[in-house]
Amino acid sequence: MSFVKGLRCRECGREYPKEPLHVCEFCFGPLEVVYKYDEIKKSLTRETIVRRPANMWRYRELLPLDFPPTVGVDVGFTPLIRANNLAKVLGVKELYIKNDAVNHPTLSFKDRVVSVAISKAREFGFQIVACASTGNLANSVAAQAAQSGMESYIFIPADLEQGKIIGTSIYGACLIGIRGTYDEVNRLCSEIAGKYGWAFVNINIRPYYAEGSKAFGYEIMEQLGWRTPRHIVVPMAGGSLITKIWKAFIEFEKLGFIKKNEAKIYGAQASGCAPIVTAIKQGKDIFTPVKPSTIAKSLAIGNPADGYYAIKTMKESGGYGEDVSDEEIIEGIKILAKTEGIFAETAGGVTVGVAKKLIDKRIIPRDESIVLCITGNGLKTQEAVYGRIPDPVIINAKLSEFDQFLKERKKHSKK
């Protein structure tokens, strides 16, 4: 059964029925799913959650489906690891990594939102799903549309990484590369969504889709032993994930699953596309859009849909925002791989780089718990580090050649 009351405008509070709507007709504010928390509180307990299978549907009362999910039934419950090696390098005491680089089925946190969106689209009776994407969403929509037997149309900036292009087409999706930035793709898709009656997961299904991100937050709290971290660093593109993690913390507090929401939340962007961070650094409530130029293509959104709320969330929590250069992003990817054995995509490099900066600036203290959010897999954005890491050594299949190689290597390392 569903605990969803309906949709409500975040700006003016007008209420709408459970339909594929995303914008308030009166003030253009975003619509958000409203739940019957009193009833959830009566029927859901921590014990019930713990007894359920290890996937994000263990929190199903807090997700906006009326029926059991029809795709992505195994999504979520990715590892939260204690990152002692990276903690040492960053000079902090208690560091964790929430690792959605190994989310199922397409190795990014997008599998969470898409399993909700496509299941919801089927509930609404749609035949065709679509999305505007910087890559990870494209992969996940293509894969899960295939799983659900639906046709998919996917729109991306034409210059995306190969891994993200192939990782979409392979599932039989109709992939359309647009000459332009994500913001241009997105504007076009808004117009397409208004013309064709498709389920655009991040446009007309958006209120439901975005709720899937909350599971990322629920899992962190459960895996930490039913508490929030004191500090959490989240990458920002459109700014939705950071607001939904915050919503998850607030909901668990409201339901009594955690004692108190003690988190401060920090947003991470690439310097080449940092409209949200720039606004928070300048103390503004409203961001100014930018033209993106960064290797972190998954975060290259110059006109972030949830930017306004992302700024509000950081301020409300007492957190802050920071940005890093392409050079620092690559360094971030490498350091995470070398210390913790996790190969994250460019967005992960942004998160690690920003965390380092905030710790060095003493904005994040060294002696309190910190969670870093890794949202995508490095195998998809190999171009970013290609040529920046050593090439393999090539030798013939002779023991003597290997002996010689090893001798020289030892000589070099002694120097």
């Binding site: 995303h22 914008v23 003030c27 117009e191 446009i203 593109a237």
Partner: protein, 93 residues
């Protein structure tokens, strides 16, 4: 001076379902005034009480966001295409 304006779904009730309308004006602001005369109520949906475009509304002239041009004083040429798009769409992480 004639331009074409693409109307987003939430405003189509005002245009009686029309997805695209013709309008006149030499700036974006003038076009908004024109639309308000033709389809009363349009301006209060698009602009706030100070006459600025609301924060959840994006306006494009020939595919370019007017915040990269001269906002509502952006000058228009005959045949220009204007799109009104809700800000809350897309966005990933």
């Amino acid at each position: 001076m004639g331009v074409t304006v693409r109307i987003p779904t939430p405003l189509r009730r005002l245009t009686k379902g029309l997805e695209e309308v013709k309008a006149e004006g030499s700036t974006v602001a003038e076009v908004i005034e024109y639309l308000d005369r033709e389809f009363p109520g349009m301006k209060e949906r698009i602009c706030d009480e100070n006459g600025e475009v609301k924060k959840f509304v994006n306006i494009y002239v020939n595919q370019e966001d007017i915040r990269f041009l001269d906002n509502i004083t952006t000058k228009l040429n005959d045949g220009d295409e204007i799109s009104i798009v809700p800000a809350i769409a897309g966005g990933v992480i």
